[in-house]
C-alpha cells in the first residue's frame, strides 16, 4: 500500500487490503548536484515521498531527465559522481539507510536491497560462466557452501531458467536478452531482499519476453513478500505490473496513487497528457504530444514545474510549488492546485480522439516481389512480397532479428546484395545506390532509428539539412536557405535552429531535423526505421503526429518500421508482420490487429502490455 507520506498520515492511506508495516518508506528525499566549476547547488530530485508494502510493486514513471535513475540509485544509498543526497529518509524495514557508512551500505546491498539494472548484458561479467556468477552471489551473501547446489537449482527454477539445458555452463553472450535479464533477477532475488529496485529491466526486450519477465517479477515479489520499485518510461508496462504508481516530473512527484485510479482518472495535468500520448491497440487515435521540454535542474521555474507546459495553468501556479493534494481516500494525490477538477474530468470527451480517415489510396507506388537478402551465408530476408499504395502508410512490424531493418536498408540501397524485383513508380529499383537514377534517389528518403547517431555532430542544422539539396540541385545559397527554413517549419522547428549543432538539441528535436533533411527533397516515399524507439512517449506522440500530418498534406507514402504494435494502429493504413525474415501476415491495419489470421501475429498481440486509458476519447 502506498500513500504520500508528505500530506496524509500513514493511517489515512489504509485501504481494505493493506495490513502490516511498510517495507519501504521514502520521505522528502532530496538529491543535489554539488556545486562545482562555478555552478551553484541545484536540486535534481526533491520532496519525493512514497511508501511500498511487502509484496507490492510501485511503478515509478518518468520521461528522460526526470530523475528516475537518480532516484533508483538513491534508494540504494548511492549517488552518481557530482551528486549528493541533500536530505530526507529512505527507510527500509524500519531502518533509515541514508546515514549508514559505506561499509554498512555494502553489507546491506544485495542482502536487504537488490538492484536490477537496465541492461543485463552489461551487468553480467562476459568472461565468467553463469553458474560461476550465481555461485559468487550465494557465496557472498550466505557464506557456507552447504546447500549451495540445491539453492542454485532453486534460483534457476524461480526465474524459469531450469529448463534451459546447460545454462550453468553458458557464458552470458550465449543467452538471449530475456535469459540474461532472468539471470539478473535470479541474482537479485537470491538473498531474499526486502526491497528490490528494477531500473527499466525490460527495455530492449521484445513483447513476448517482456511479458514473461514481468510475470516472473510479479510472482517473485508476491511469493517472497518483496517490495519492488519498478522504474520505467513505458506507461503500458507499468500499468501491467504495478499496484501503485508514482509519476516523476522534473525531479518531483507529480502524482502518486493506486495504479488503477491513476490510469483511469489522473489528477495531474502531466499524467493526463502522458496517458494521452500512449497509442492504443484498439483504436486509431490522434496522439497528443507535449510541447517543449521538461525544465532541467537549475532552470526550473519558481512555481509549479509543469506550469509552463500546462493547459490548466492558473496565475497562482507561478507563485510557488503547489502542495501534494489528496484526491481520494486510497492515497491518490497530486501536486496540483486543480487536482480535484482534473480527476473529475476523467473520461470526459476532450477534443477529437479518433483519427479522421486519411486520403484515399492511389495506384501502388512501390511494389516488392520476392525480395530476399543475405548477410554472408545467413539468409535474413526470404521472398518478401508486398506493395505500398500511393499516399498510404505501411507499417512493418516484427521483433528484433526479424529482418525489419535489413528490409529498410535494401529499399534505400544500403544493402546492395538483395535479389528480387522492386518496382518504384513503374521503374525497377536496383539493389545498390550507384545504379539508381537521380530521380529515384531523390524520391526515396530514409529516416533512421537513433536520432543521436543520425546527425553529424560537426555540422550545423543548416549544413545538415541543405546537404541533400546541394547534392541534387543547383541553387544559390539564398534559395537553399529558404528551402531549409521551409523544411524546418514542415518539421515544426523554428528558423532559429539553423545555427545550432546537434548536441544542443533534444532527442525529439534531432529526429525532427532528420525528418527535415529527408523532406527537403520532397520525396514520394519515406522509409522510417523505428524513428520513435529512442524517444519518450510524449515526444513519440508528437513525431508520429508530425509524420501523419505530413503524409496527409503532401500525399507522401510511408514505410514505418516498428516493434510497437499499438503505434501501428495510430499511424498506419496497412501492416506487414514479419517473423524470421518472412512475412507471416499482411493486410489493412484494423483487420490484422482485430482478427489476426496468423498464429504469430495473434501471439504478438496477446503479449502487448495493455493499458486502458480513460482520457482523450471523443
Amino acid at each position: 500500500m502506498t500513500a504520500p507520506a508528505g500530506g496524509a498520515d500513514a493511517a489515512s492511506g489504509t485501504g481494505a487490503t493493506s495490513t502490516g508495516p511498510m517495507r519501504l518508506s521514502v520521505e522528502n528525499l532530496q538529491v543535489l548536484r554539488a556545486p562545482s566549476r562555478g555552478r551553484a547547488t541545484v536540486d535534481v530530485v526533491d520532496e519525493v515521498s512514497f511508501r511500498v508494502r511487502p509484496g507490492e510493486v510501485l511503478g515509478l514513471v518518468g520521461e528522460s531527465g526526470s530523475g528516475k535513475t537518480t532516484m533508483a540509485l538513491a534508494l540504494l544509498g548511492h549517488v552518481r559522481r557530482g551528486l549528493v543526497i541533500g536530505g530526507g529518509k529512505v527507510v527500509v524495514d524500519g531502518q533509515d539507510i541514508l546515514p549508514l557508512s559505506p561499509a554498512q551500505l555494502q553489507r546491506m546491498r544485495g542482502r536487504q536491497v537488490a538492484y536490477v539494472p537496465q541492461d543485463p548484458s552489461s551487468a553480467l561479467n562476459p568472461t565468467l560462466k553463469i553458474g560461476t556468477q550465481l555461485r559468487e552471489v550465494l557465496a557472498a551473501y550466505e557464506g557456507d557452501g552447504g546447500a549451495r547446489a540445491e539453492r542454485l537449482t532453486e534460483m534457476l527454477a524461480e526465474v524459469g531458467l531450469s529448463t534451459v539445458p546447460g545454462i550453468l555452463d553458458s557464458y552470458p553472450h550465449q543467452l538471449s536478452g530475456g535469459q540474461q535479464q532472468r539471470v539478473g533477477l535470479a541474482m537479485a532475488f537470491a538473498c531474499r531482499p526486502q526491497l528490490i529496485v528494477l531500473d527499466e529491466p525490460t527495455t530492449g526486450l521484445d513483447v513476448t519476453t517482456q511479458r514473461r519477465v514481468l510475470e516472473t517479477i510479479r510472482d517473485l515479489c508476491q511469493s517472497y513478500q518483496v517490495a519492488a520499485v519498478y522504474i520505467s518510461h513505458d506507461l503500458a508496462v507499468v500499468a501491467e505490473i504495478a499496484d501503485y504508481v508514482a509519476v516523476l516530473y522534473a525531479g518531483r512527484l507529480a502524482e502518486v496513487g493506486p495504479a488503477r485510479e491513476v490510469f483511469a482518472s489522473p489528477a495531474h495535468p502531466y499524467s493526463r497528457r502522458l496517458l494521452r500520448a500512449v497509442p492504443s491497440l484498439d483504436r486509431s487515435q490522434v496522439l497528443r504530444g507535449l510541447a517543449g521540454q521538461p525544465p532541467r535542474p537549475g532552470s526550473r521555474p519558481p512555481g509549479c514545474f509543469f506550469q509552463p507546459r500546462c493547459e490548466f495553468a492558473l496565475p497562482e501556479c507561478e507563485a510557488g510549488p503547489p502542495p501534494m493534494t489528496e484526491v481520494s481516500p486510497s492515497g491518490h494525490s497530486a501536486r496540483c492546485l486543480r487536482a480535484g477538477e482534473i480527476v473529475a474530468l476523467a473520461g470526459a470527451p476532450d477534443g477529437p480522439g479518433e483519427r479522421p480517415a486519411g486520403p484515399g489510396a492511389t495506384a501502388p507506388l512501390l511494389d516488392v516481389r520476392a525480395l530476399s537478402a543475405t548477410y554472408g551465408r545467413k539468409s535474413v530476408l526470404t521472398g518478401l512480397t508486398f506493395t505500398v499504395p500511393g499516399r498510404q502508410c505501411v507499417a512493418v512490424v516484427g521483433m528484433s532479428g526479424s529482418g525489419k531493418t535489413t528490409l529498410a536498408r535494401c529499399l534505400v540501397g544500403l544493402h546492395p546484395t538483395w535479389t528480387g524485383d522492386v518496382t518504384f513508380a513503374g521503374q525497377a529499383l536496383t539493389p545498390g545506390v550507384r545504379r539508381r537514377s537521380r530521380d529515384q534517389l531523390r524520391r526515396v528518403q530514409y529516416v533512421s532509428q537513433n536520432p543521436y547517431l543520425a546527425l553529424n555532430p560537426r555540422r550545423t542544422v543548416r549544413q545538415i539539412i541543405e546537404q541533400p539539396l546541394a547534392h541534387f540541385e543547383r541553387l544559390s545559397s539564398g534559395e537553399r536557405y529558404e528551402r531549409v527554413v521551409a523544411a524546418l517549419s514542415a518539421a515544426a522547428l523554428r528558423e532559429s535552429f539553423v545555427d545550432l549543432y546537434p548536441d544542443q538539441l533534444s532527442g525529439g528535436e534531432r529526429q525532427r531535423v532528420a525528418i527535415a533533411r529527408a523532406l527537403i527533397l520532397e520525396p514520394d516515399l519515406l522509409v522510417c526505421d523505428e524513428v520513435t524507439s529512442a524517444l519518450d512517449v510524449s515526444v513519440q506522440a508528437a513525431i508520429v503526429e508530425l509524420l501523419r500530418g505530413l503524409q496527409h498534406e503532401r500525399g507522401l507514402s510511408m514505410i514505418f518500421i516498428t516493434h510497437n504494435l499499438p503505434l501501428v494502429r495510430s499511424i498506419a493504413d496497412h501492416v506487414v508482420v514479419m517473423n524470421n525474415g518472412r512475412i507471416c501476415e499482411r493486410g489493412p491495419v484494423a483487420e490484422v490487429l482485430e482478427a489476426p489470421k496468423d498464429g504469430y501475429t495473434a501471439q504478438l498481440l496477446a503479449d502487448v502490455p495493455k493499458m486502458t486509458v480513460a482520457v482523450g476519447e471523443g
Binding site: 528516475k68 490522434v286 537549475g298 493547459e311 477529437p352 546527425l455 553529424n456 548536441d503
Partner: protein, 313 residues
C-alpha cells in the same frame, strides 16, 4: 488545442552561439591544463632556439675558432667541439633542419596513414583486408631499421630520409585512424549521405574526417615525437646531414669521444632533443585528455537524465 498547434513550434531561445573549430577548442582546452601548458612551453623554447638560433650564433658554425674540446669560457660559453668549432654556435644552428624534416615527414606520414586508414574502414571487405595486410608487412619492421634500410640502399639524401620516416609512420597511423573511422562509418549520418548517391570521397571529406579531428591531432603530436627521434637517430648514425653541417644528432656522434674533455658538446644537443620529445609528448598527452573530455561531454548528452552544461533548455 489541436495536436498540431500544441507542438507547433518548439523553442530554441538562448542556444544559438557561435562555435570554434574543434581543433582550436581541443588545443585551447589542452593548453589550459598544467600538463598542456608545460608541454607547450618546453616545445616552444626548443623550437624558438632552433628557429632563430642561426641568426644569434656568435660564430659561423663551420669555422674552426679555438682548440678542440676547449672548456667553456666567456668567449665560448659551451666550449669547443672535436675540431675546435664553437659548440654554442653549432647548437643554435643545428636544430632547424631537424625540426623541418621531422615536421614534413610527420605531415606526409600522417596524411598517408589517414588516407589508408579511412579508406580501409569506409570501403571495408576485401579492400580493408588487402590494405591492412600490406600495413602489417611494413609494421613488421622496426621504424628505425626500416628507415635505415631505405637510406642505406638509396643513399643518404635528405628527401629520402624524410620519405623513409613518413613511410614508416603511415602504417601505424593507418591502424589507429582505421579503428576510429570504423566507428564513425557505422553512424547513420554517413548512411544518410550514402543513400543520396554521394561519391565516397565527398562522404569521407564531409562526414567522416571532421569526426576524426581529435584522433588526428593526437597522432600528429605522437608521430612528430617519433620523427624527431628517428631523424636525430639517423643523423647520429651518419645518415642525414653530412659534415661539416651542424646537426644535433650528428654532433652527439662527432663529440662523444671528447665526453670527458668537454661534455657540453654532447650534452647541449642531447638535452635539446630530450626536451623537445618530452615536451611534445606531454603536450600530446594533454591534447588526448582534452579531446577525451570533449567526447565525454557529448556522450553525457546522449544519456538521459545527466546534466550537461549548455545542452539544456
Amino acid at each position: 488545442m489541436t495536436s498540431n498547434a500544441s507542438l507547433a513550434v518548439l523553442q530554441s531561445a538562448g542556444r544559438g552561439r557561435a562555435r570554434r573549430r574543434e581543433w582550436v577548442a581541443v588545443l585551447g582546452r589542452a593548453v589550459r591544463t598544467g600538463r598542456g601548458a608545460a608541454g607547450l612551453a618546453i616545445v616552444g623554447v626548443v623550437v624558438l632556439i632552433a628557429a632563430i638560433g642561426p641568426a644569434l650564433a656568435p660564430y659561423p658554425s663551420t669555422s674552426f675558432v679555438t682548440a678542440p674540446f676547449a672548456n667553456p669560457s666567456l668567449k665560448f660559453p659551451l666550449g669547443a667541439d672535436t675540431l675546435g668549432r664553437d659548440v654554442l654556435s653549432r647548437t643554435l644552428d643545428g636544430g632547424w633542419q631537424l625540426l623541418l624534416m621531422a615536421a614534413v615527414a610527420t605531415l606526409l606520414g600522417v596524411a598517408a596513414g589517414a588516407i589508408i586508414g579511412v579508406a580501409a574502414a569506409y570501403f571495408g571487405g576485401r579492400w580493408d583486408t588487402l590494405m591492412m595486410r600490406a600495413v602489417d608487412v611494413i609494421l613488421a619492421f622496426p621504424q628505425l631499421v626500416f628507415a635505415l634500410l631505405l637510406v642505406s640502399i638509396l643513399g643518404p639524401k635528405i628527401w629520402l630520409i624524410v620519405l623513409a620516416v613518413a613511410i614508416s609512420h603511415a602504417p601505424q597511423v593507418a591502424r589507429v585512424i582505421r579503428a576510429g573511422a570504423l566507428d564513425v562509418c557505422e553512424r547513420d549520418f554517413v548512411r544518410a549521405a550514402q543513400i543520396l548517391g554521394m561519391p565516397a570521397r565527398k562522404v569521407i571529406r564531409r562526414e567522416v574526417l571532421p569526426n576524426l579531428t581529435s584522433v588526428l591531432m593526437v597522432e600528429l603530436g605522437l608521430r612528430l615525437t617519433y620523427s624527431i627521434l628517428v631523424i636525430a637517430g639517423l643523423s647520429f648514425l651518419g645518415f642525414g646531414l653530412q659534415p661539416p653541417t651542424a646537426s644535433w644528432g650528428l654532433m652527439i656522434n662527432e663529440n662523444r669521444i671528447g665526453l670527458v674533455a668537454n661534455p657540453w658538446a654532447v650534452l647541449a644537443p642531447t638535452l635539446l632533443i630530450a626536451a623537445l620529445t618530452i615536451g611534445m609528448n606531454t603536450l600530446t598527452d594533454a591534447i588526448a585528455r582534452a579531446s577525451l573530455g570533449v567526447g565525454r561531454q557529448a556522450d553525457d548528452a546522449v544519456l538521459p537524465g545527466l546534466v550537461v552544461a549548455g545542452a539544456g533548455q
